[in-house]
């Protein structure tokens, strides 16, 4: 029984202390990154990599080597899936799928799940907002494997996709996209001939398998030889999207940085929601357009417009300088009219980059230019205006990823 006013005050004080401590603990327990809207992954001139978070891409400046967190381990910029304040990746050596938070300025593995026989992610796709489907080719078993992972409790169910194994001169498979449509799973893939460590090339043919879901039985297969390597590795860069009508668009990537069959054109293709099939009459040949080159990155702007990131073959000699010479253009493409318009941006460098975010019809485009500096550019497709936003000065050589963290 509490009777005396002094006793009441004491209990109140204790309650306040407990409440304050509780809040403080909760705050320090949260990952540092989870508070901010955007995540920026950069590489400095000396090769050091940093992750920095920010609430705005529209202006100001940010020096990753001062305000960022050193990435640990380094060189994981092509491996990440970023979702609701956390970073996810597959550790190929341990075959573990990791959930990583940043706490007290350190990369901290929060939880992990073992994925036997999984050595790479070729493609990921969302089953629900909190569960992932990841797909990867396992060259040891010559099988395309998948895992469904629940990210909250980090549990996984594994299996293999019923895609025909490579045969004849082919010894490798790449899955370039997977997409759920009308209760089915559509999987775009192709085959490669890998010559030990001395190179590889890609079959002249691309395939799209329609699988039942969740039984994953083959229902039908589409084949096309006008182009090859449908989609690409989407932990590296975006290669497909769904428009407002539910139609699915993907870019094909026969260029030297993915398919390595550059005689084939880069094209945009479409799978209509109305029949879940590749539209055989829709073939937007980018290499035959004024772009006249191969391209890889592909992001949706909305209202039937998209951005493609395309290379300039006259400016590089091969894979030895493809990543370091500024030669990439950004084009706005009209998916319906099949027209292109170059964005007046400095030439960009870096073979593959997750470098475009589209929000509320505005595109934020990260550009690394040796001459014009590293900026997030802001493009408004309504009036075609382009202006500089957030600057990343200092030692930054490449902005390797920008993405929405929360």
């Amino acid at each position: 029984m509490i009777k005396k006013p002094r006793q009441i005050s004491l209990y109140l004080l204790l309650a306040m202390i407990a409440f304050t401590v509780g809040c403080a603990e909760r705050e320090s327990g949260q990952s540092d990154t989870s508070q901010k809207k955007y995540s920026i992954y950069t590489m400095a001139e000396d090769g050091q990599e940093f992750l920095t978070t920010t609430d705005s891409l529209s202006g100001g400046s940010l020096e990753p080597e001062k305000s960022g967190v050193k990435v640990d381990p380094q060189r994981i910029f092509y491996d990440l899936i970023v979702h609701k304040g956390y970073y996810y990746r597959l550790d190929a050596k341990t075959q573990e799928f990791l959930k990583i938070g940043i706490e007290n300025k350190k990369f901290t593995t929060k939880s992990r799940v073992k994925l036997e026989g999984f050595s790479a992610i070729d493609n990921y796709n969302w089953i629900t907002p909190d569960s992932l489907l990841i797909i990867g080719y396992d060259d040891k078993s010559a099988e395309v494997k998948y895992a469904k992972i629940h990210l909250e409790n980090m549990t996984a169910v594994q299996g293999k996709l019923p895609l025909p194994a490579p045969s004849g001169s082919y010894n490798w498979t790449s899955v370039g996209f997977s997409h759920f449509m009308n209760g089915q799973l559509l999987v775009g893939y192709t085959y490669h001939a890998a010559h030990d460590l001395l190179g590889y090339t890609t079959s002249d043919t691309m395939y799209v398998a329609t699988l039942s879901y969740p039984a994953l039985k083959n229902l039908k297969k589409y084949k096309d030889s006008r182009t090859t390597y449908p989609g690409g590795v989407n932990t590296r860069q975006s290669h497909f999207f769904t428009d407002e009508n539910g139609d699915f668009y993907f870019i094909t990537c026969p260029g030297i940085a993915l398919g390595n069959n550059p005689a084939k054109p880069t094209a945009i293709m479409r799978i209509r929601k109305s029949d879940s099939s590749v539209d055989p009459d829709y073939f937007f040949n980018l290499s035959a357009s004024p772009i006249q080159n191969n391209g890889y990155g592909f992001w949706y702007l909305g209202k039937g417009k998209a951005i493609v990131r395309t290379e300039r073959k006259a400016l590089f000699t091969g894979m030895g300088d493809h990543y370091k010479v500024p030669h990439f253009d950004f084009y706005e493409v009209d998916l319906i009219k099949q027209t292109t318009a170059r964005l007046n941006l400095p030439l960009d460098k870096g073979t593959a980059r997750q470098c475009v975010i589209v929000e509320n019809g505005i595109a934020y485009i990260a550009v690394n230019s040796d001459s014009a500096g590293s900026y997030i550019w802001i493009y408004n497709p309504e009036n075609h205006s382009l202006k500089k936003g957030l600057q990343i000065p200092g030692q930054t050589d490449y902005i390797l990823r920008i993405e929405r963290l929360n």
Partner: protein, 220 residues
Amino acid sequence: MRVSKELIERYHAGLCTQEEQLAVEEWLLSDEPDELFVLPEGKEKRGLRAEMWEEIADVFPEKKSYQHIFFHSFWRQAAAVVLLGITGVLLYNVNNKQVTADIIIINNESTSINKDLQAGNFHVSLAPKSNIEIDSNTGRIDFCGAMMINPKMDVEYTIQGTCPDQMEQSGKMKLKKGLNYIALNYAGPGKDPELLVLEEKSLMGLPPLMKRQLMHQFDI
């Protein structure tokens, strides 16, 4: 000789002749019933023999069981460590040959295993079916295949691809101490092979399939 009580007492006192001593010991070792010998009252042969052995054992110099000592877990483990150490050093020497000549030629004929060695100013990991010639006089590396090299000091070398249909060279390259460089004769489709010399961090710029294969081969 008859083994009597007196003889046994003399044996205990150490007063037996050699012949008597032998006779007593023979009797001790024998399981044959000895009707001639009358045991002291209340004693039987087995009990008496056990007592005598106990006494004799006290006098004998202590006999160590070497077998027991060797197989004692500590020594067993120590021996295993030493053996493993020796094996390791031998293997290391076999696989990491310290090559100091001015011109070093190495050919890895294996179809699956890298050949690792110290060659002049470099640590070299040569991929299967690859060969390399390092000439430190002219500052030139000729090679065909794929390798990872790590210089022990800052050096300048010209790297030359020597695969049959390729004679491309890198020009003088500054290779920095302690960094890993990947070099390969990369065959583009319908083109002559391209000589790639990349710092390990730039390996990421390669197509995913190549990156995966190289990271696996060189354990990156």
